[in-house]
Symmetry: C2
Subunit: 307 residues, 2 copies
Amino acid sequence: MSFDVLQEKIKAKKNPTVAGLDTRVEYVPPYLLKEYTDKYGETLEAAAGAILEFDRGLIDALYDVVPAVKPQAAYFECLGWRGMKVLEELIAYAKSKGLYVIADVKRGDIGTTATAYSEGWLGVTRVGSADCPVFDADCVTLNGYMGSDAIKPFLADCAARGKSAFVLCKTSNPSSVELQDMVAGDRVVYSVMGDLIQRWGAGTKGKYGYQALGAVVGATHPAVLKELRRRLDGVFFLVPGYGAQGGTAADVRWAFDELGRGAIVNASRSILCAWKKTGGDGHDYREAARAAAEKMRDELKEYITVM
Amino acid sequence: MSFDVLQEKIKAKKNPTVAGLDTRVEYVPPYLLKEYTDKYGETLEAAAGAILEFDRGLIDALYDVVPAVKPQAAYFECLGWRGMKVLEELIAYAKSKGLYVIADVKRGDIGTTATAYSEGWLGVTRVGSADCPVFDADCVTLNGYMGSDAIKPFLADCAARGKSAFVLCKTSNPSSVELQDMVAGDRVVYSVMGDLIQRWGAGTKGKYGYQALGAVVGATHPAVLKELRRRLDGVFFLVPGYGAQGGTAADVRWAFDELGRGAIVNASRSILCAWKKTGGDGHDYREAARAAAEKMRDELKEYITVM
């Protein structure tokens, strides 16, 4: 239950970072993609094979530096069922290496549909009398626009299977202001959502004081991070927007509590594409990713000490 | 571009209904599921096979009654990659029968991630120099909580490939009030979203006067349908919540303009599970579904004449 498992992995590695596996085909070094297109032609099958090998290599390079990985479903879905098969394999592989896996799916639907999503990503799907695990991630991201009907089925799987979920609150992108910053009564929409997240997750706190339902709050709004950290006691934060999108270590420190807990910061491109900055042809993508992840860990250490 | 293609199919069949393929395993007649579990055991493979056959049978029974089908991604995702393979096959099959396919995915993400989702569902994924179609639906559902960053990549594929999209506005479920009905300035959140949808889709109107970006507005709020129909000129509505959720033909008429255009009403369970009410063992599921779809068409005809 709750984010205890994640918090312990963060503590063990002294690193509140999650590596986002946002693996666009263009992020795979050309030599590696070529191996697969030579074999399978310029097909979805080739792309899926190359991405599987690339991401497995990244996991091998990162598993003792970062506590968690966050595969982004879109980059697997855009390869069709072959991509989804790769995603299933990668989640299992990352877990076998002791990594906490956050499936970044941002699903949001209601009733039995939300139940089906939760079964697929966190729980099990029942076929006859058998319970079949599917993607079986440790955690998912969700969209709460439709209200608690979209969240409750996931909370049931969190309780039954020790999983957790993050709901979008204030996102890191420029157009997040269009809806999320609208004034609603004496609050703004993202505060309303934050309060809902806290309410929906009530009663699920673990030993570190954090409930099973967390919030996504972007690194690009440090003042908002500060405000929401104060407001949303017991709500774990997933913080995207570090690095490429402009968030710095000085910005994200506000996501953490006084013990350096309660948040995890995502970096994707800066790690995945680190090989593009070494001057090589990408054969060093593992070492480059590892060095980038270590650099980020050390940057965060300047501001955050996880206790 | 825009909803012209859908509007023409609606007109040809004199039926503004979409059949939702929300195919939970429990909706498959037991005799049919057994054929697959006998062969593959109680596995995801068996469930995927049974659902493929069931949904193909439904499409055969419905394709000359309804203009469109709406597969719900969750019920395929919860079967893992095998389910996604079935979904690819079903989308292609429905299109081969002349049906308009709305992939009910409710995706919402930003930047290159939104682009990847759009490539997967509406566009093509580029591998090397090849453009590979993936799910290739005619239309998707989207979640706009993150703002225009989550919508624009889809509009590009709509323009390039004659597709369209619906964004969640006011949903049919009870907890939609929690965020969507919050007062925001002189509007409520769902009106803000409706206005954003109209603004994001500006400049994409087709010959019937509807833009390529529509709105999801639930049948369970007739007063809201009336209000939003007046407010959102040129915005096509997808109306869930008919039947099982309580919406009636008298309720949903407010979604249409004075020419009976501009909206499509979804029904899922009442069609998929019609066989459960005939007293048989499900061998008549096709005929039962067809009869239910014809009944709904005739109910709507009492209130709406599509010109």
